[in-house]
């Protein structure tokens, strides 16, 4: 699935050199993360088959901006719902059952549904956008299929020259294997 297009940079960024460590044990991976941070390493990537709070604590990353997307989407949806129902009622006024032309109570349903709809869609938008953004910063990095199964992994972007100390550090934390990529 290689399609030449301007977005290629986004979808398949240039490869980044570095060191990839595979951990069979969660606590080993956690220790490695802590050690790396202490060693002043930035922008290393941690693979895990499932979200683990231990890792999150160790990494303690900033809060995801996705929630802003959700919030804005929700508000937008609500107002669109209100506008649609009210505008369309007054655009061609038609009396039914002696009710007022634009009556709010029934339209609350519309507003609510639109809130949820837009909220959900913008949330998806948010996650996609952010993940993609992160990927472009990171570039293409090494990966191991086992990371989606039962292994944890850490990739540290370093030039081949300075990779030695990193490898020893990772080994020291108990990586099952460490290889250069």
């Amino acid at each position: 699935m290689s399609f030449p297009n301007p977005l290629a940079r986004v979808f398949r960024p240039p490869p980044t050199p570095g060191v990839l460590a595979v951990f069979g044990h969660l606590d080993a991976a956690v220790d490695a993360v802590i050690a790396l941070k202490r060693g002043g390493h930035q922008g290393f990537t941690v693979y895990s088959p499932l979200p683990r709070h231990e890792l999150e604590h160790a990494l303690d990353q900033p809060v995801s901006p996705v929630r802003m997307f959700t919030l804005i989407g929700g508000i937008a949806g609500c107002s669109i719902g209100a506008w649609v129902s009210l505008y369309m009622s007054y655009d061609w006024p038609v009396q039914v059952g002696g009710k007022t032309i634009g009556s709010i109570p029934p339209y609350v349903v519309i507003m609510f549904e639109m809130t949820v709809l837009f909220g959900a869609l913008t949330t998806l938008l948010g996650i996609g956008f952010n993940v993609l953004l992160a990927a472009t910063h990171r570039g293409t990095i090494a990966y191991d299929p086992r990371f989606s199964n039962d292994k944890f992994g850490i990739f540290v972007p370093v030039a081949a020259a300075q990779s030695g100390p990193v490898e020893t550090l990772l080994k020291g934390c108990g990586a099952d294997e460490v290889r250069r990529a």
């Binding site: 941690v46 499932l50 655009d91 609510f112 549904e113 709809l117 199964n149």
Partner: protein, 454 residues
């Protein structure tokens, strides 16, 4: 309403490791054997028959169905409400229980969600089928047109359209969200065309800390949005009836009554689907009796609410109701369609009492049977509320008349079951029907020093 301590799975599935989980679930994507294809064939056959009936309906008109004055709504709307109801447990289990952090959901929520999406898909067809000029269904959608006409937002049917549309979209998003990490997991163990498929559908998931960082809150927000949605959708559906002045429809009780009923039937359907699926895909290790018991408890709770709703509406009709209201409920119990009324009472209000007993809750065969009858009963409940109370027509006694369904009714209803199971079976065969990542969350992570908790 946390059903069980989160350590429970560790107790019940102690020998299960991450690897076992991945392998077990990956195996479900292999050849499931003749039984599966038999089921699939039946489903497709039913669907085809339904399509033929539908073509007749379109060509000759709704007269092919059994409608007759004053029963203007019948089987099709019954099926609509039935399927929407089925669709409810899915999002309930995946969203509400997620917010409640009840761990047992992880093993079953995927099946529930798949069921949800396809059930809504099925339900959505019926309003289109049952209208007189099906080819103009899009007039209900507010799109700018040359005539300058808009739909009537005061009509519960338009609310319905919005509610169902939203629910379908959101529950689909929810399903896909949950699927992505799992597809990635099976991608990495799959081969051949499946690998290609999963590579494509996993849209580059690798479980990096960045991805998880955005994924988890997003999932949470979706759950937060989906939770009121679940409660709203069937409320809106119930208002299709409650907003009308037909006696036995015009009840403030309807929204909670219908939501409870929906979850009730939904859970029953989950059990109905999970029991054979568990056998078919040999998921005994992941989906245990413990999960069924919790589903049963959910059934019990909602069943009790339904039971309460029945008794209250009858009581109110007797106690405060104006004559037509009383007439309507008398007609339900002793009128021409008494059998319908009693079927729903027995299956929905009396049967769940069995679930008070742990021996029943933990007996899968018993659960399967009860679930089946609950499904039957819930279908009948909708039929009674819709067709029977219309036939009973308390306001205009002169037109009170019977109702006889025709082959077109049954054919299209059968078709809807075929349609649902066709998609369901195809999906569970080709995508992880149990969440890989989340089941793992319930397992003790591998540690160097076993037993030492981080």
């Amino acid at each position: 309403m946390t059903m069980t301590p989160t350590t429970a799975p560790e107790r019940t599935t102690s020998r299960v490791t991450y690897d076992v989980v991945t392998r077990t679930i990956a195996r479900t994507l292999g050849n499931p054997g003749r039984g599966y294809y038999l089921l699939l064939g039946t489903a497709v056959g039913l669907f085809a028959f339904g399509v033929i009936c539908l073509l007749y309906l379109l060509r000759y008109g709704l007269g092919m169905a059994g409608y007759s004055m004053p029963t203007y709504w019948a089987i099709y709307i019954t099926c609509f409400v039935f399927w929407v109801g089925i669709a409810h447990s899915g999002t309930l289990i995946s969203a509400i229980l997620f917010l409640f952090r009840s761990g047992w959901r992880t093993a079953v929520y995927r099946v529930a969600e798949i069921m949800t999406v396809f059930a809504v898909m099925t339900a959505g067809l019926f309003p289109l089928i049952h209208i007189g000029r099906q080819w103009f269904f899009y007039w209900l959608v507010p799109y700018p047109n040359e005539r300058g006409l808009w739909p009537n937002f005061k009509s519960p049917l338009v609310w319905d359209e919005f509610a169902i549309g939203t629910y379908f979209t959101v529950s689909t998003c929810f399903l896909i969200m949950g699927l992505i990490p799992d597809i990635a997991a099976v991608r990495d163990v799959a081969t051949g065309w499946r690998r290609k498929l999963y590579t494509l559908t996993a849209i580059g998931w690798r479980g990096t800390n960045e991805q998880w960082r955005h994924y988890r809150p997003a999932y949470l927000y979706l759950a937060a949005l989906a939770t009121p949605l679940v409660l709203s959708v069937h409320s809106v559906v119930s208002w299709d009836f409650a907003m009308a002045q037909v006696p036995a429809w015009h009840e403030t009780l309807f929204a909670p009554y219908f939501v409870a009923g929906a979850i009730y039937s939904g859970c029953a359907m989950v059990i109905t689907l999970l029991v054979p699926l568990r056998k078919l895909f040999r998921l005994e290790q992941l989906v245990t009796v413990h999960h069924f018991e919790n589903l049963a408890k959910l059934c019990l709770l909602t069943g009790m609410i339904v039971c309460y709703a029945y008794s209250i509406e009858n009581f109110v009709a007797w106690y405060g109701g104006p004559t037509p209201e009383r007439q309507a409920f008398w007609y339900r119990a002793f009128g021409r369609f008494w059998w319908g009324g009693w079927t729903m009472n027995i299956c929905n209000a009396f049967l769940p009492w069995l679930l008070w007993f742990k021996r029943v809750r933990t007996n899968i065969t018993a659960l399967f049977v009860i679930a089946f009858f609950v499904n039957l009963g819930m279908w009948m409940e909708r039929f009674v509320i819709i067709a029977v109370h219309l036939a009973g027509e308390p306001f205009a006694p002169f037109v009170r008349a019977g109702y006889n369904a025709t082959w077109a009714d049954w054919g299209i209803m059968a078709g809807s079951f075929g349609w649902f199971f066709m998609w369901f079976l195809l999906f569970v065969k080709n995508f992880p029907s149990v969440s890989v990542a989340e089941v793992k969350e319930e397992l003790p992570p591998p540690r160097r020093a076993a037993g030492k908790h981080a």
